[in-house]
């Protein structure tokens, strides 16, 4: 049990800055998910914590220990790899207990721990199988078992579910949550899948090009995105962002529509005048015959439970805004046709306003 702290972590590969000035603390026993597009440095950050990569500068603490220059084996961590990294020539039991064996833990103790982990993960009958005889989900469990028996102070996960099919991924996600509730070991989890991030995390770290874009609870990140990037990265479909103008606490859309009270409570528009970016999630735009926002429907995607309408804003100078697409989530029965003009209202208190210069949330 330990917290993890990163202090001013920089990592450079051949003059290529991959991580710059990473500062964060993962509280003891929490589940932290690092998320970001590929190449944002999330895996590198994880590998630095594991000790598989040396940091260029800065320090890493696990608990009270400065582990910055320690070997991976001395950091008391366990890692689950994307491709599971099971030893192909060892059976499940040997895979799970290898780490205990090289650390000189007696055979009875190894057996006890392996059986306990196998029971926890539903691997009971598989201990003598070879990795190649296992399915993807079973291999995944063995990789977890190998991490669990070590009883480390931190679990590191490097996109562990990305090689599984969608159904299995959902199932393993729930198992992972259950496991974390039971073991309550500090966990750091890397993924590019924002659904995984939202569902698993107690804390989400959104990384972009090697720096922290936002670090907070899933609610913080989803309901109060700190930047246009976070707003568009988290949530599916991605948040609608339109150019607008702020005026005395109200927001005026490009076609002249005035919206008042749309912005979230934490956004402060007093004293702000001029261009802003308005972000509205697809579910915060409501189909409403009396609504003041008019859009033309372009493409309709029926998803079963609801329908996504890809629309273009309408107005006097519609040609100027053709490049802006607004995605609206409609309830199952509502199915406008392509070319229809529909009216929408923005939900009160759910709009996100960003500064067009800094791309940051207007606070």
């Amino acid at each position: 049990m330990a917290n993890v702290r990163l202090c001013d972590i920089d990592k450079t590969f051949n003059k290529n800055k991959v991580l710059s000035g990473l500062n964060l603390e993962v509280p003891d026993g929490s589940f932290m998910v690092m998320v970001g597009p590929s190449g944002c440095g999330k895996s590198t950050a994880l590998r630095c914590i594991a000790g598989l990569e040396e940091v260029t500068s800065g320090s890493i603490y696990i608990g009270d220990r400065d582990v910055t220059h320690m070997e991976p084996k001395d950091r008391n961590i366990a890692m689950v790899f994307q491709n599971y990294a099971l030893y192909p020539h060892m059976n499940v039991y040997d895979n799970i207990t290898y780490g205990l064996k090289v650390r000189g833990i007696p055979a009875e103790e190894r057996k006890r721990r392996a059986e306990e982990a196998a029971k926890l993960l539903g691997l009971d009958g598989l201990l003598t199988r070879m990795p190649r005889q296992l399915s993807g989900g079973q291999r995944q469990r063995v990789a977890m078992g190998r991490a669990i028996v070590r009883e480390p102070s931190v679990f590191l996960f490097d996109e562990p579910l990305s090689n599984l099919d969608a159904n299995l991924r959902n199932q393993m996600r729930i198992e992972l949550r259950r496991l974390h509730q039971r073991l309550a070991t500090t966990s750091i989890y890397v993924t590019h899948d924002q659904v995984e991030a939202m569902t698993l995390a107690e804390k989400i770290l959104v990384l972009r090009a090697g720096h922290i874009e936002q670090y907070g609870t899933p609610d913080d990140v989803y309901l109060r995105p700190a930047s246009v990037f976070v707003a568009q990265f988290m949530g599916s479909p991605s948040m609608n962002i339109v150019h607008a103008t702020a005026d005395g606490g109200d927001i005026i859309l490009a076609d002249g529509t005035r919206l008042s009270g749309v912005q979230a409570k934490d956004i402060n528009l007093s004293g702000r005048k001029g261009d802003v970016l308005l972000g509205l999630r697809s579910e915060d735009l409501l189909f409403d015959p009396d609504g003041n926002i008019r859009v033309t429907v372009d493409i309709v995607e029926a998803l079963g439970s609801d329908t996504l309408a890809y629309c273009h804003p309408m107005g006097k100078d519609a040609a100027v805004k053709k490049d802006e697409t607004i995605i609206v989530r409609l309830q199952g029965a509502q199915r406008p046709a392509s070319g229809d003009v529909i009216r929408l209202t923005a939900r009160q208190g759910h709009g996100h306003v960003f500064d067009p210069e800094t791309q940051l949330r207007c606070l």
Binding site: A50, L52, P72, K73, A85, H89, Y98, G99, V102
Partner: protein, 297 residues
């Protein structure tokens, strides 16, 4: 349904597949089966030195062979030579491959240089070492002389054997190195990282993870090297020692040549090559039978 998967069904379609196989079959028959058959046949005849007449003698050639203490010495010598060469070759090339696998800057150049010896013909490889160890002017023998050690493989049989082992290994290390390096690079990095996190020391990682995963490569090289030391080292022996001094380095393959083409004892020489053939067959069989079981694919 299964039949439909074969494009060449029935007798009327037999011509085309045979034509496709023919070039390979011709080469195999002419260059492998025919000479092997001739050797088998020759081993049961006694032929005069001019090749004018021959007489069927049954297994007499083999009886003579195995009652000759000289031949048993040759067997023993070949055994020592093979084991030493294989051990030296595989040990050094594995070490080099493991080290080369860690090199990042200039790795390609380093690896390319290590492969060069493979392009050298065996007799030339022998000549090269012959120059280095020339008793009167060789660089290495002069150096050894300076240390107070007299090197003269022309007089000292053990030194001659050592020189052969070194030159035969040197020649074959490149080939082994290439395969070991490819084998090492095929091992996923994450396995070694997982072992490092599990707490394995570099030696334990090598011993428990890398070496077992290399076993298919190691096994293949063991078979290839066995055949190499028994057959292909002829050129090196011929260039370096010609089996001397006083037959101290006369390996099985060199004795086949020596007795057959120099001594003109064709029957005896054929019998020896048949014995050699069986030794290789038995060794290869044993290797597949017993060692392959321990290989992890």
């Amino acid at each position: 349904m299964q039949d439909e998967r074969y494009a060449f069904r029935g007798k009327k379609h037999l011509i085309l597949p045979i034509l496709f196989l023919l070039p390979q079959l011709v080469i195999t028959v002419v260059f492998f089966f025919y000479p092997a058959g001739e050797a088998l046949l020759g081993s049961v005849y006694m032929e005069d030195s001019f090749g004018l007449s021959r007489e069927f003698v049954g297994l007499d050639n083999f009886v003579v062979l195995f009652s000759d203490p000289g031949y048993l010495e040759t067997l023993y010598l070949t055994f020592i030579f093979s084991i030493a060469t294989i051990t030296l070759t595989m040990g050094v090339s594995l070490l080099m491959a493991v080290v080369a696998d860690q090199v990042h800057t200039g790795g390609t150049l380093y690896k390319s240089m290590l492969i060069i010896p493979y392009a050298v013909a065996p007799p030339l490889a022998g000549v090269l070492w012959l120059f280095l160890f020339n008793p009167s002017v060789g660089v290495l023998s002069t150096f050894l002389d300076g240390l107070g050690y007299t090197w003269n493989h022309k007089l000292n049989g053990n030194q001659a054997l050592l020189l052969l082992i070194i030159s035969a290994s040197w020649k074959q290390i490149s080939y082994n190195f290439l395969f070991f390096l490819a084998g090492l690079q095929a091992i996923p990095r994450s396995l070694i990282e997982a072992a490092a996190i599990d707490g394995a020391s570099p030696w334990q990682r090598f011993r428990n993870i890398i070496f077992p995963l290399l076993s298919p490569t190691t096994f293949f090289l063991l078979v290839v090297n066995t055949i190499y030391t028994l057959f292909e080292t002829f050129g090196i022996v011929h260039a370096v020692t010609q089996g001397g001094p006083s037959r101290a380095t006369e390996t099985l393959i060199y004795k086949v040549f020596n007795d057959g083409f120099i001594g003109l004892d064709f029957g005896g020489s054929s019998a020896q090559s048949v014995v050699l053939m069986f030794i290789v067959m038995i060794l290869t069989f044993l290797q597949f039978r017993y060692i392959e079981r321990k290989v992890n694919y």
